[in-house]
Symmetry: C2
Subunit: 347 residues, 2 copies
């Protein structure tokens, strides 16, 4: 070929720094090591993570879910704080499979960024490893991809993937639900991971607030309120699931109570959710007022203070809410299921 052709192009010139990638990988391996129990047969860094199927489930089914943190990431990037969104992601995934009755086995992540930012990756993985430990899940693998030209400097995207296990014949779900059952609400601890595009638009663009300014009416900085970690409901809920006392569960994420509760209603059953049974938390009230947002839009965008809804037999309600409260939960009777095809009615 002609010597006038470009010469000496290397992968580093093209925006990929393999040595930095190697260093980050070493630190990630230290962080995840802590989450790996004897059921993990692979070492970090192998082609695939290997996890022995637990032998204590008679008719085992795997429950898997993929998820992201949404534009809550943008708040983390603004704040330069990345461990909390790592924990958000794991807890969100844990809650998503918990509603199918599953306890988590393992979790994997995908981080896409323009150029490897070692500190950011380390903080993300540190958050994910912490939450994995808290939820008894192995951080079994992951991929950190350098994607030059895809992400602005400092930006990244983050996806999580979880696998849990459930006794197939004992799964909760719509098939166990009937009119006459009641709803038990479990409080959220803030916005969790939903509605952040709207929140950012309102707080930063329209109101011109910064992360250190007070979240109106809440008495805490905007950054702190927005980065509160999406909680995991595994610990309070799993004992009730094991005891077979929960008929179905809804994780209140995008789409809010109306869309998520609808997913566990069988035909001919509608939900009457009594809004008077709980007080809209201050941060939701402030967003509603300041944004001039309709109630309908609020309830479809935000969890409104309810992170998880359990469907239980009417005769179990008192005992179950008592048990949950004894476990430190804010739990209450949220409404009832009635014959009808009206879906989810907010009354």
């Amino acid at each position: 070929m002609a010597s006038s052709e470009p010469r000496g192009l290397s992968y580093r010139d093209a925006g990929v720094d393999r040595e930095a990638a190697g260093r980050a990988k070493d630190r990630i391996i230290e962080l995840v090591q802590d989450t790996l129990g004897p059921e993990v047969l692979s070492r970090p860094g192998s082609f695939g993570g290997i996890y022995r199927v637990p032998g204590d489930v008679a008719s085992p089914a795997l429950v898997a879910s993929a998820d992201g943190v949404g534009t809550k990431l943008k708040v983390a990037i603004m704040a330069g704080r990345h461990d909390t969104v790592g924990r958000d992601l794991v807890n969100h995934c844990v809650d998503d499979i918990l509603v199918e009755g599953a306890r988590p086995l393992f979790f994997l992540d995908y981080i896409g960024m323009g150029r490897l930012a070692e500190g950011t990756v380390e903080a993300l993985v540190s958050g994910m490893a912490t939450a994995c430990r808290e939820n008894g899940a192995a951080l079994l693998g992951g991929e950190t991809a350098e994607m030059p030209d895809f992400y602005a400097d400092g930006d990244y995207d983050l996806a999580g993937f979880i696998v849990g296990i459930v006794e197939a014949e004992r799964r909760p779900g719509a098939h166990r639900v009937q009119a006459g059952d009641v709803l038990v609400g479990l409080a959220s601890n803030g916005f969790h991971t939903n509605g952040y595009s709207l929140l950012r638009r309102l707080l930063f663009d329209k109101l011109g607030l910064g992360l250190d300014d007070e979240f109106p009416g809440v008495g805490l900085p905007v950054g702190e309120v927005l980065l509160t970690v999406h909680r995991s409901y595994l610990r309070p809920v799993m004992p009730l699931l094991r005891a077979g006392r929960i008929k179905a569960l809804a994780h209140i994420t995008g789409g809010g109570i109306p869309e998520n509760l609808a997913r566990v209603l069988p035909e001919g059953v509608e939900a009457h959710v009594q809004r008077s049974t709980w007080e809209m938390p201050l941060e939701f009230e402030a967003v509603r007022e300041l944004g001039g947002i309709s109630d309908e839009e609020m309830y479809r965008t935000f969890n409104m203070g309810v992170g998880m809804i359990l469907v239980v037999a009417a005769e179990d309600e008192v005992d179950i809410t008592a048990q949950l409260r004894a476990a430190g939960e804010d739990a209450w009777g949220l409404g009832v299921l009635e014959p009808g095809d009206g879906g989810v009615l907010l009354i």
Copy 2:
């Protein structure tokens, strides 16, 4: 609150179109339905995908991997063709767990984009569903996230998660490898999914080529060469794995033959890869020449024509290569393992 505050903010104003999301979801459900066998207990759209653990494995272990397509996505975006990268992603994941001996059970995806592009999502999912069917995997779930302010118009990121199953006690790997074993190479069908940042820099930026221009020396358009689908080695390799005749496998991805083959070498064993045993395919030769790229850099960035390497007992080499050729593979003796600590030597 004061009436001078902004009013009427809705989720759609904030860049999220929930109705378009609903339509895309319906079409995705049709596409994935085809990949779901009787072992799948969930319906598309539930909180978590549910998959019954197969009963035909005595001591089952799950093998999981997370991956992306890298900046090959940028080529797909330039070309406006998205099904092929969907297939790339699934096949890449299948190959990653195949080297641990696993057959795939299910796959989940994550798509991040600025504003939902229905046609793009449909093409991506269509490609993933096709490849899932080809590999006997269920497309069990996924997340499509609208991330306003993260992605440029038309851009997206794509991650895949796969779970397979293997008989724990019969796994291939470094523990079964010893000096005296031999290497069998399986041909790649192009760049697969590695080295695309360098390829784009060279072909588009330095040489000023377009997708429809000829790939120098190859006789095919640049777009066609770059979007050739990363192949799956499941079909030819699984029968040999089941027969227990493969000691270890290396999927030749980022890091090339040196880094990936090193992952299956036990202490005290080094690999002698004979470069004269195969011809560098035309597209790699052209990149080497036009980019003025050192051999070392080429072999660490690209697969160089070798997509998968099997480690087998010396006495099995002839029979195994014959079986692979009979199955339509381009397979050959690529080198040998010797006592030593030199790692992977390209001779």
